[in-house]
């Protein structure tokens, strides 16, 4: 744990006349939200462990514009997008990895039409490729035989058809991957997408995150795996609401792997 994180910026690389293998797009949650920062650090530890030459934009990064776009503010979205694209193109970025499915979706799908075309991968895909290439190994010990239930983030699953990468990572931990009643294409939203993260829900009988958390708890799994900082927040709140936070942990897939390494 004491090992210092190596987090070079694009500016550092540029100053040395080099370019990194991949840009890690941290995202607003990953930069500012206390819970999500832990995911960011877990992912960085894995990158450091695997010896990946990555860089972050640091203080030059800014919101992708996703919440503005989904709220209906196309102006603000495109302003953000074009500023980001100018910056990314100036650094000649080719490949981007991010731990946030919302950033992932926006940069991958909506930036190309505005002049920003990059290879964009979600951190679960990137970690899987590190394992496949033998750059990272997983010791399954910590989670061996334990039940882990995976919640599909909408912007990873239905939005981009990525269902297997996070599941394969969990299975590599020798854990017992369990599914909720609604999973993969039928997965139920955590309730945060479409800018809902930033507003109260409309009147109804129940909060969406409670409905989803109940479904996750019904599996009897003590670990709920998420792959999105928003889902993580929503499910963590749901588990607290059910007063199960002492027994049940909501962890990002990157954290599971980092924990397995005792990183």
């Amino acid at each position: 744990m004491s090992e210092e994180l190596k987090v070079p910026t694009m500016a550092d690389f540029m100053a040395q006349g080099k370019s990194p293998e991949v840009l890690f797009w941290v995202g607003c949650s990953g930069s500012f939200d206390d819970r999500a920062k832990k995911i960011t650090k877990a992912f960085v530890r894995l990158l450091n462990r695997a010896g990946v030459e990555f860089a972050v934009l640091g203080t030059e990064e800014s919101c992708t514009g996703d919440p503005a776009k989904r709220a209906g503010n196309e102006f603000l979205f495109q302003m953000q997008a074009m500023m980001n694209i100018e910056l990314l193109n100036a650094y000649e970025v080719k490949k981007i990895v991010t731990a946030c499915p919302h950033c992932f979706n926006t940069i991958k799908n909506e930036y190309p039409g505005l002049g920003g075309s990059y290879e964009v991968v979600h951190h679960t895909q990137f970690l899987k490729s590190l394992l496949d290439d033998g750059r990272l190994t997983i010791e399954g010990g910590t989670f061996k035989g334990k039940k882990i239930v995976f919640h599909d983030p909408c912007y990873l699953g239905r939005a981009n058809n990525i269902y297997e990468a996070p599941r394969e990572l969990i299975q590599k931990l020798d854990a017992e991957l369990v599914e909720m009643k609604r999973s993969r294409t039928n997965g139920l939203c955590c309730g945060a997408g479409g800018a809902q993260m930033f507003k109260d829900a409309e009147p109804g009988d129940k909060e969406i995150n409670i409905e989803r958390s109940e479904e996750a708890l019904d599996t009897g799994s003590k670990i709920i795996a998420a792959a999105c900082p928003f889902c993580n927040t929503m499910l963590t709140d749901g588990v607290k609401n059910k007063e199960k936070e002492a027994e049940v942990k909501v962890l990002d897939v990157a954290e599971l792997i980092a924990n397995a390494h005792d990183l």
Binding site: L5, V7, T9, V26, C28, G30, S31, F32, K37, T40, G58, T59, S62, C63, P67, A68, K69, R70, A71, G72, N73, E74, F75, L76, Q78, M79, M82, M83, N105, K108, N109, E110, G113, C154, Y155, R158, A159, N160, T185, N186, G187, L188, C189, G191, A192, G193, G194, A195, Q196, F198, K199, D200, A201, E202, P203, G204, D205, K206, I208, E211
Partner: protein
């Protein structure tokens, strides 16, 4: 046979088809009220989608019970319609069972139609039970109060009547063939109606003939009435599912379109050399600037309007919508039904005003769909994923949100706060951009 029958047949056929054609023209005109959108790319993938999803019912079987029952009705409907072709020829030319020269193959066809007819009856009765006795949640949902609920039942009753007429027609025909009644040549195999046929055993030849003719006429008249019912019903999906799956969005579901009109403005804003007062080149001084987003049906694109006419109100979208599941007002099915209702209203307005739309102080937004519904959406794409014919309620929700935010600045207060944070400090929360890398040194 006298010629009166044939003339009468030709007249009802012409009326039936003609009236339907007139409504199809209206349907096409209404769909074209939408904004233009280019969906001419990737014809190969589009044909494949149509073949798999509309023709092949791929997404229907995601829910196996209703999916398989639906396939029975669908296959029955399509195949039994070969029989309609024979009926039309017989009716026009006074022949009887004109295709019977096919011999063994004809027997095979008629035999299959009969078995399919029984399967259709079985499935349709199962559907009636699901709707009216088991009362499956998505069928008793508040969206369907009134006409939509009756519409669904009428369609099913209609199918029961048509299939019964078809089987009775065959049963009496079989009797007449057996009795060597003039004109009724021995043709076809009747695995089902042969079982029914004995009920006519004691009846006089002429009575059986009257029943046969009555069933024959009612069957074809029923089909023509049903054809014309389509336009007024949710049942249009039997035709529109095909173009709808062809023209559906092929992009990843997470990709929302970037508004070109906005791109032009943003580029101008970001260009340090742009002259903000310059008049755009070649601008029409009388042009009405394009609205951002959608307030009414004319602001939607034609594919979205086609979607509205295609929706058969099955409610799979609503039953998978996280907002609806948790009791919010939003129902993706209602979004589609409202869009169609408003489009029909606009169409009637145009008809009543000699081809031009006269503003009626109503819009899709507010008069049909409320902001409360629109703001409940999590954009999770469950509705789009679920739709068996690739309708996207989400794209309509998004376009209407865009209107609310960009034309009316009517976002919920908390979203306005989020957006001003993005504008001022490049994050949806009030943190300083200069602190973005602080996590690196925190414990």
């Amino acid at each position: 046979m006298n010629y009166l029958d044939n003339i009468f047949f030709a007249v009802i056929l012409a009326l039936g088809v003609g009236f339907f054609a007139m409504n199809v023209k209206k349907l096409i005109r209404n769909i074209k009220l939408g904004r233009d959108i280019d969906r001419s790319d990737n014809p190969g993938e589009r044909w494949t989608n149509m073949a798999m999803i509309a023709l092949g019912q791929k997404k229907m079987v995601k829910r196996p019970v209703s999916g398989i029952l639906h396939i029975l009705v669908y296959v029955g409907f399509v195949i039994i319609n070969i029989e309609v072709l024979e009926i039309v020829i017989d009716g026009l030319f006074g022949t009887h069972r004109i295709f019977s020269f096919l011999g063994g193959f004809y027997s095979f066809l008629i035999g299959s139609f009969e078995i399919l007819a029984v399967l259709v009856l079985f499935a349709v009765i199962a559907f009636l039970i699901r709707r009216n006795i088991i009362k499956i949640k998505r069928f008793i949902h508040s969206d369907l109060k009134g006409w939509p609920k009756s519409d669904a039942n009428y369609i099913l009753y209609f199918e029961v009547v048509l299939m019964t007429l078809f089987l009775l027609m065959n049963a009496t025909d079989f009797q007449l063939q057996y009795r060597n009644f003039p004109h009724y040549i021995q043709a076809g195999a009747f695995p089902v109606s042969a079982v029914v046929s004995p009920i006519f055993d004691g009846m006089a030849d002429n009575s059986v003939w009257v029943i046969e003719r009555t069933c024959w006429w009612l069957h074809i008249a029923g089909i023509l009435v049903f054809l014309n019912y389509l336009y007024f019903s949710k049942h249009l999906h039997i035709l529109l599912a095909f173009p709808n799956t062809y023209y559906a969005d092929l992009n990843a579901k997470g990709k929302f379109n970037n508004l070109d009109s906005v791109t032009a403005e943003v580029k101008l804003m970001m260009d340090p050399n742009a002259d903000p007062f310059a008049a755009p080149a070649n601008a029409d001084p009388n042009a009405v600037p394009e609205k951002f987003g959608a307030q009414d049906v004319q602001d939607l694109n034609w594919v979205q309007l086609l979607n509205a006419y295609t929706c058969t109100e099955c409610g799979r979208c609503t039953s998978s919508c996280p907002a609806n599941i948790t009791g919010k007002k939003l129902s993706p099915r209602k979004i589609m039904m409202d869009t169609r209702d408003r489009l029909e209203e606009v169409g009637k307005n145009i008809d009543a005003n000699k081809g031009t739309f006269v503003p009626d102080n109503k819009t899709l937004l507010n008069d049909y769909i409320t902001p409360e519904e629109l703001w409940a959406c999590t954009t999770c794409n469950a509705c789009v994923e679920e739709c068996p014919v690739n309708i996207s309620p989400l794209s309509i929700i998004m376009d209407m949100r865009r209107f609310l935010v960009m034309e009316q600045s009517a976002a919920p207060q908390s979203l306005n706060a989020m957006m001003s944070n993005v504008e001022n400090n490049a994050a949806p929360w009030p943190y300083n951009q200069q602190d973005r890398l602080n996590w690196k040194n925190e414990n």
